[in-house]
């Protein structure tokens, strides 16, 4: 047994400090940091050993600092703007102690500054590396829980969900209330979280002199803003980005009013967040004039420029004008040729061999060769502008599968889809990459799903759901978006007083109306409706049906209406195809199919519809 005193006596305090990070881990982190510098704003994953601090207490920043710092460096650590906090002091000692570098609380002496919450008020230079301790590196985390989906959104620069969250904040509060972690667009490409710094410091990232490295220990991500990189806070064109400011506030100690101030506890008033700066101002050791020039004073809040104050101002965005039809443009807007979808194994990879023995004449959709389900096969049709085509058949006949293949929710096994607006109708849409197909759904081919929860985000307001489609299509004017959303909601008879209510609070019929408004938001040339009134009770369904009839009649869209209900098909369409067991068994004018059906299945269907 030995006592604690004996154990302490054995320690050699003069011995060379043991590195917290082995050289392998440092190389791994440096590699990640270099990648991050090469792709500004992109989150680079890395691996490293655990740090002797709790995760969430600066472990990410610590790893980056330990990997980039050398004996010749001087480290400064800020926690909440303060060098003297327990956490800052411990981290600084640990870094200096384990690497042999110098330590300082003076930014001018420091070469590596590890920070939580602040960029120093002192001017940063090319001599500085600023390391941020990041709690949550993913800017999309608040709007998208799925890590894979966040990755896809970054890859495709699909940031409409982020814009919707800004829109919702403005709608609810009349101004941006988000303080830390304000999203910025880095070098025109990646949206990045500026967590943990306040809005006040965000402009300091733009064309900065210093290298900024962000380390997130919990999620093992490093990202960077290299010197002289463009960093733009996300903000609508007509609602300027603002920094935090309380009118008349100044530091109780040094009197500064051009610094980031924090409330001074129970004694009232404000104090400098950056304690180093405050002390130096008081000591007369600060260039306050140069600092005032650097301060983001042009971004102070201005109630006159806020969303609610400027609602009436500005000219509305001109309505989308589609280019005139080319001479050689096809007559149709959407054309489907030989579309097929098989769920299950193909016989020797041969789809044709697999589907042999299925279809109406064999009374089965199950492949005798492999047991695969032939959900749709050899489905062909086209739709012209101003025309509505019905697809009718009982449940399981393959109607919805055909729609899913056209929009890209399912991968078609066979067939071709063309849109007149894409490559003049010569581009095979099914061969396009997923990202391009997703873009088509923004402004070329809109879908109204049977279940509004699929087409809408129920947590978001009615206007916000429409904003999602508009921002995806590149709209950046808050008031333009509001006006357009109001116009669409008015058209679908949603009272404007409900525009800012979450769709979750709407009835089924109202949700379906919002979904229709969203589908029409960008005036797409093709609209696909999948059982648009199924699941609504009779009187509500009738209202939605009347609305659809009206909006289709007044627009020059090509519509495909999938339904099992003859009354829906009859009310909306001019032509119809009848599907059974995955095949089109009959096509014709809608009234002809109703009065003179030829195929036995169509005759049964019509007989069943007569009540």
């Amino acid at each position: 047994m030995s006592t604690t005193t004996e154990l302490l006596a054995e320690l050699d305090t003069e011995a060379a400090p043991a590195g917290l990070l082995d050289e392998g881990a440092k190389r791994e982190i440096r590699r990640a940091a270099l990648t991050a510098v090469c792709v500004p704003g992109y989150q680079v994953p890395f691996g490293s050993r655990e740090m002797p601090v709790a995760r969430g207490w600066g472990s990410g920043g610590l790893q980056v600092t330990l990997a980039v710092i050398g004996e010749d460096d001087t480290v400064k650590v800020i926690d909440q703007g303060d060098d003297a906090g327990v956490n800052a002091t411990n981290l600084r000692r640990m870094i200096a102690g384990s690497t042999g570098c110098a330590e300082s609380a003076d930014t001018r002496d420091a070469t590596v500054v590890q920070t939580r919450h602040r960029v120093p008020e002192e001017a940063m230079t090319a001599e500085h590396v600023l390391v941020y301790q990041v709690p949550v590196p993913e800017p999309l985390r608040g709007v998208q829980k799925s890590v894979a989906e966040c990755g896809r959104m970054h890859a495709e620069a699909d940031y409409s969900a982020m814009w919707v969250s800004l829109y919702e904040d403005l709608v609810r509060n009349g101004m941006i209330t988000r303080t830390t972690g304000y999203p910025v667009l880095v070098a025109g490409r990646y949206v990045m979280a500026t967590t943990p710094i306040p809005r006040w410091d965000v402009p300091r990232l733009h064309h900065s002199e210093q290298l900024n490295l962000f380390g997130a220990g919990r999620e093992k991500r490093i990202y960077a803003v290299p010197p002289h990189t463009e960093v733009t806070p996300l903000a609508f064109d007509d609602v300027p980005f603002e920094v935090e400011h309380a009118p008349g506030a100044r530091c109780r100690l040094c009197g500064s009013d051009d610094v980031f101030l924090v409330e001074a506890g129970t004694r009232g008033g404000y104090l400098c967040s950056d304690t180093e700066w405050c002390a130096r101002v008081r000591a007369g050791d600060a260039d306050v004039d140069a600092h005032r020039d650097r301060a983001p004073l042009r971004l102070l809040p201005d109630p006159a420029r806020r969303a609610r104050a400027t609602a009436a101002a500005g000219t509305p965005r001109p309505h989308r004008v589609r280019p005139p039809r080319a001479e050689d443009a096809p007559e149709w807007a959407l054309r489907v040729d030989g579309l097929g979808k098989v769920f299950g194994p193909l016989a020797g990879g041969d789809a044709n061999a697999t589907v042999t023995g299925t279809g109406p004449e064999h009374a089965t959709a199950i492949s005798p060769a492999t047991g695969a389900i032939v959900a749709a096969w050899d489905v062909s049709f086209d739709v012209a502008p101003g025309e509505a085509l019905g697809v009718i058949g009982e449940s399981g006949s393959g109607k919805s599968t055909v729609l899913a293949c056209i929009i890209g929710d399912e991968l078609a096994t066979a067939g071709e889809v063309r849109l007149a607006e894409v490559g003049g109708g010569r581009t095979e849409v099914l061969a396009l990459p997923a990202s391009a197909r997703r873009l088509l759904r923004v402004d070329t081919m809109a879908v109204v799903h049977q279940n509004p929860a699929v087409g809408l985000d129920l947590r978001v307001s009615a206007g916000g759901n429409i904003a999602e489609r508009l921002t995806a299509a590149g709209w950046r004017g808050y008031h333009d978006i509001r006006r357009r959303a109001a116009e669409l909601l008015d058209r679908v008879e949603i009272p404007l007083s409900r525009m800012d209510d979450a769709v979750r609070t709407f009835s089924g019929g109202m949700r379906q109306r919002v979904q229709i408004a969203k589908a029409l938001a960008t005036d797409p040339p093709v609209v696909l409706l999948d059982e648009p009134t199924t699941g609504l009770d009779a009187s509500v369904a009738a209202g939605v049906l009347d609305l659809l009839r009206g909006v289709l009649a007044e627009r020059d869209v090509a519509a495909v209406v999938v339904s099992h209900d003859f009354s829906v098909i009859e009310a909306l369409t001019d032509r119809t195809v009848v599907m059974q067991l995955g095949r089109v068994v009959e096509a014709g004018l809608t009234d002809q199919l109703f009065h003179d059906p030829h195929h036995p299945y169509s005759q049964r269907l019509v007989a069943a519809a007569r009540r």
């Binding site: 009649a553 001019d574 032509r575 009234d591 003179d596 049964r604």
Partner: protein, 246 residues
């Protein structure tokens, strides 16, 4: 006389009833017929003779088995309707056809003014002109103004028939198909309706009609075709045929 507007040759139509036992019912067994602009051809015959089927085959509500139905539109060569693709047929219908059946087939929850105005829209008028034409047509058939925006399904049989007539004749189409258009009208309204149809001949509309009474034939038709068992039994000028039939 110049070329006929509507020219029907050896038109045949049968129905195969798969839901019963696959039996075949013959409806038209080879019909030849011409209707010229401004001419009014009335179809007569016992029920089941194929009068309505003939109209529906022309309108393509029924798909003919064989034969030819040619429509001379205002431009170009006559169009063969039996083999015309569905999209072109739908467009042609909207612009060139008026079809007044015994029963009104209005979209649910729409009123007379809207029904008639959209018919005028399909024939090429803009919204304002279409509404004006619809107003005029409904007034001419004495439909009470209070009913103009009432859901058509709430109207009486006679009222619906007048809405139907107004929609079929507004902004007069090139070819008008009438299937017992006056059957539910009282004498006063009937007179106004007959007057309206009679005036269309002056506009150069070709009319093919089925009437359930000789009165209308006598008043309107210039040529009468008697159908029996899906074939033309006899035909002739209205004056002589009416006497024979009466």
């Amino acid at each position: 006389m110049n070329q006929p507007v509507l020219s029907i040759r050896d038109l045949r139509k049968s129905f195969t009833l798969h839901t019963i036992d696959g039996r075949t019912v013959n409806s038209l067994r080879g019909v030849d017929l011409d209707v010229h602009a401004g001419e009014h051809v009335a179809l007569a015959g016992a029920s089941g003779a194929g009068k309505s089927s003939l109209l529906r085959c022309v309108h393509r509500t029924y798909l003919p088995d064989s034969g030819s139905v040619r429509l001379r539109t205002d431009v170009g060569e006559p169009v063969e309707l039996t083999g015309l693709d569905d999209r072109s047929m739908a467009r042609l219908r909207g612009r060139q056809f008026g079809y007044v059946s015994q029963f009104l087939s209005a979209p649910p929850r729409t009123g007379p003014l809207q029904v008639v105005a959209s018919a005028a829209r399909r024939r090429g008028l803009d919204q304002a002109a279409a509404t004006e034409a619809a107003t005029e047509a409904l007034r001419r058939l004495n439909l009470e103004k209070a009913l103009w925006d009432v859901d058509c399904s709430l109207l009486s049989g006679g009222e619906r028939q007048r809405v139907n007539l107004a929609a079929g004749t507004v902004c007069p189409p090139r070819l008008l198909l009438l299937d017992e258009p006056f059957s539910a009208l009282d004498p006063a309204n009937r007179a106004a309706a007959v007057e309206l149809v009679a005036s269309l001949a002056g506009d150069g509309v070709a009319v093919l009609a089925v009437f359930h009474d000789l009165d209308a034939i006598r008043r309107l038709a210039s040529w009468v075709v008697l159908l029996a068992d899906g074939r033309i039994a006899r035909e002739g000028a209205a004056a002589t045929m009416v006497e024979e039939l009466g």
